[in-house]
Amino acid sequence: MIPMEIFSWRDMALPMMLTALAFAMPLLLAALGELVGERAGVLNIGLEGMMLGGAWAGATASFAAGSAPLGLLGAVAAGMALAGVFALLTITLKADAVVAGTGLNLFALGLTGTLHRALGERWSEVRSATLPEWVFALIGAVLVPLLWWGLKSTRPGLQLRAVGEYPAAADTAGVRVSRVRWRATLFNGALCGLAGAFLSMSHTDSFGENMTAGRGFIALAIVIFGRWNPWGALGGALLFGAAEGSQFFLQSKIGTTFYPLLLALPYALTLLVLAGFAGRSPAPAALGQAYER
């Protein structure tokens, strides 16, 4: 434990902010993906699963190909593949979104865990080719204003929002409701894959079983906290990132006795946000509803 005298807030401010930023990255990417999906009316609670898929595929592909960009590509493809399964179930076959999302989480957890162990026996140690964290930060920094403007002021954005608010009106306006929802869901999968890749290819250099540890659900809460607005999602991601990152610094201040409580901080915050914001939020009117003519 660090002696108290050498711990000073002034010296810690910068590292703390960087840590918060690092923890915010995967949350932001996944939340932006989910935000786009939800604005199109698709409620996908399978973020966790898609992130895990991305994390595993990123680590494995980058190790196998020896190339970080190829690993990133693999992570995006894995996220999209899992999103495609979800889209097939809920949009095309009109299954219940909550059941399908839960299924996706459990399926991805089991699948990545099994594959990880199987590969671990063969290759002994899978080490990812890594990317610097700023790559992901850059993607997030570009996406926030782009999505904000795109949703507000472009025709595809207009169509996407119409599909999420009142699909029948969009349909009669000539918008292909299912196609828009499919695309939004795949976009969500791609971003969740990226978020997962950040965990296994940048934040650490290997995949670990269930390494997302509930971050998908936190991202889900961030969408609500951010009131379905990309800037709001950015704010939410930074707040939760700070909550998650601060435990490492506070741990040194308050000692190990209360450490488990600190670990619970982001999750407690999630509960608070869901309880406080969910009730009076401007959620898309057709969120989670299958559309049939």
Binding site: S153, R155, A162, A169, T172, A173, G174, A285, R293
Partner: protein, 548 residues
């Protein structure tokens, strides 16, 4: 221009349209008349591209076409105004319009679109603020937006070669972008008579410009006033087609229903007791059955006072959104008013006076208990869809009380009672009878059940909101007769309806709800008041006497 030949449409086992022939040319207004379920909307949806026919063909400009999506319809400049608003409530008017923009337009410029939409509106003589959100607009304004949209909405499809050629021709002249055929599904359902007349003027103007218009309605008067030709549908078949000049409302009504209906016989009380002085006891007895509302303030409602006596039906006309919903919610006990009180009494059978008076007195504390409510929205408030009919009936406090067994709820009794009621009120369900889920009932049968439940057990005042909305002629007739019977039993009946014909048919006295106030004043209008007077009050053109 448009021609349907032998078109058949089936949904599962149900045949919605059977070898229907229909044609319309440019510069013609054709009325499509029929009861609910006659196939009017199905026909609209086939032409609008939402559904595809199972047989027959649709021809457009002499060529057989397959309209597989709304895009195909708009590409051929067919505009549709659906029965339900197809506007995104949280979008601005301009955003709603831009939704229809051609694919090539990638960026949405709010100002540009607002100017464009306002120019379109001006062309029809309307003023529209295109920056406002649709949810802030009145129902009449939304209807206008729908018509603007149908007229000016452009294709968004990736065009086939032939289409894009036709399109580029059209693009050369802005006026040619407008719809050539306009389909309107019950467009006057939410309009005041004045607004409807305005709409008719606009439609006549479009006809003069060569636009073909299909006008779907079950209001005979409107069809007679507007259309050149009428096509009558019954149970998915065309049962008659006449130029309006060679037919009359009575004949069309008979065609529509398939038998003579006495549409003209009013259901009003034979003598106007409110005006005729009665013996003191009789008045007292009637007043026990009253419904009195004093200075109610809630939402839009501003110091709303109204007294309905026993044995009379008071009709409350008005356009939706002027306080009807608040009034229903307060009377139904769903919402506490900001100020004001109301009380309701029960009609008595002779010899029971003292007892009943006391009960009425107790009831004034929670008048909702003695009120029988027939809610406007039977879909969401009236019935629980996944419950079967007996379960729905058991939602009534009175039936529950009757079924209180020693240990458990007496379902046998509840089911028997429901069966009896279904017979008496002519509720037709499938072979499973009282075990049928409410979701499987047709609109008319569902409403009969709601009415039966409201009227059967209590003797208190009745409040009915839009009791016949969306019902076909015979079901509506039945419901109205039940309301009249309730009044004949001495109960006070308050009828809240946006359907003026219904108000005139049933009411002994008539009031108008406008911006939360009662017009003309607490004395209301006699049943013989003119349609124009009431229409003017509904539109806010006439202020009542003694308004502050």
């Amino acid at each position: 221009m448009l021609e349907l030949r032998g078109v058949t449409k089936r949904f599962g086992d149900f045949t919605a349209l059977e070898s229907v022939d229909f044609a319309i040319g440019a510069g013609e207004i054709v009325g499509l008349l029929g009861e609910n379920g006659a196939g009017k909307s199905t026909l609209m949806n086939l032409v609008g591209g939402l559904h595809q026919p199972n047989g027959g063909e649709i021809r457009w400009d002499g060529e057989a076409v397959h309209l597989t999506s709304p895009r195909d319809a708009t590409a051929r400049r067919i505009g549709v105004v659906h029965q339900h608003f197809m506007l995104v409530p949280v979008f601005s008017v301009a955003e709603n319009m831009a939704l229809h923009a051609p694919q090539a337009v990638a960026v949405f410029h709010a100002d540009e679109w607002a100017a464009r939409v306002e120019a379109w509106a001006r062309a029809l003589g309307w003023r529209v603020d295109a920056r406002r959100r649709v949810e802030e607009l009145s129902v009449g304004e939304r209807q206008r937006i729908e018509i603007l949209k149908a007229l000016f909405a452009r294709t968004t499809s990736q065009k086939t070669k032939a289409e894009s050629e036709a399109e580029s021709e059209a693009e050369s002249d802005d006026a040619d972008e407008t719809a050539r055929l306009l389909l309107l599904d019950e467009p006057t359902a939410n309009l005041t008579p004045g607004e409807a007349d305005e709409l008719f003027d606009v439609l006549r103007g479009l006809r003069a410009r060569g636009c073909g218009i299909v006008f779907v309605s079950h209001k005979l008067r409107e069809v007679m006033a507007l259309c050149d030709r009428v096509v009558v549908l019954r149970r998915g078949r065309v049962v008659g087609e006449h130029p309006v000049s060679q037919t009359d409302a009575a004949r069309l009504a008979t065609l529509m229903v398939g038998r003579e209906i006495s549409a003209a016989r009013p259901l009003r009380a034979t003598s106007d007791h409110a005006a005729v002085p009665s013996p003191a006891e009789a008045v007292a007895a009637l007043d026990d059955a009253h419904l009195t509302i004093r200075n109610l303030r809630c939402g839009v409602l501003r110091d709303f006072s109204l007294q309905v006596h026993g044995a009379e039906i008071v009709g409350l006309a008005g356009v939706d959104g002027n306080g009807q919903q608040e009034l229903m919610e307060v009377l139904g006990g769903l919402r506490a008013p900001d100020a004001g009180t109301f009380e309701a009494g029960e009609a008595q059978t002779p010899g029971e006076t003292a007892n009943a008076t006391r009960r009425a007195g107790e009831a004034s504390g929670s008048a909702a208990r003695t009120l029988s409510i027939i809610p406007a929205d039977r879909q969401s408030v009236g019935l629980i869809h996944s419950f079967d009919l007996a379960e729905n009936m058991a939602l009534s406090r009175d039936l529950r009380a009757a079924c209180r067994g020693r240990f458990a709820f007496d379902w046998t009794h509840a089911r028997r009672t429901t069966r009896d009621l279904m017979e008496r009120f002519d509720v037709r369900a499938s072979a499973t009878r009282e075990r049928t889920p409410a979701a499987n009932l047709s609109g008319g049968n569902a409403q009969k059940l709601v009415v039966a439940r409201a009227l059967q057990w209590s003797r208190g005042a009745v409040v009915a909101a839009e009791p016949t909305r969306g019902l076909d002629v015979s079901a509506a007739r039945f419901v109205r007769e039940q309301l009249r019977r309730a009044a004949d039993e001495g109960r006070a009946v308050l009828l809240i309806s946006t359907d003026l014909d219904e108000i005139f048919e049933l009411s002994d006295r008539i009031g108008v709800l406008y911006e939360g106030r009662l017009l003309p004043d607490e004395n209301l209008l006699p049943s013989g008041a003119s349609r124009e007077t009431i229409g003017a009050m509904m539109g806010g053109l006439v202020q009542g006497k003694g308004q502050k």
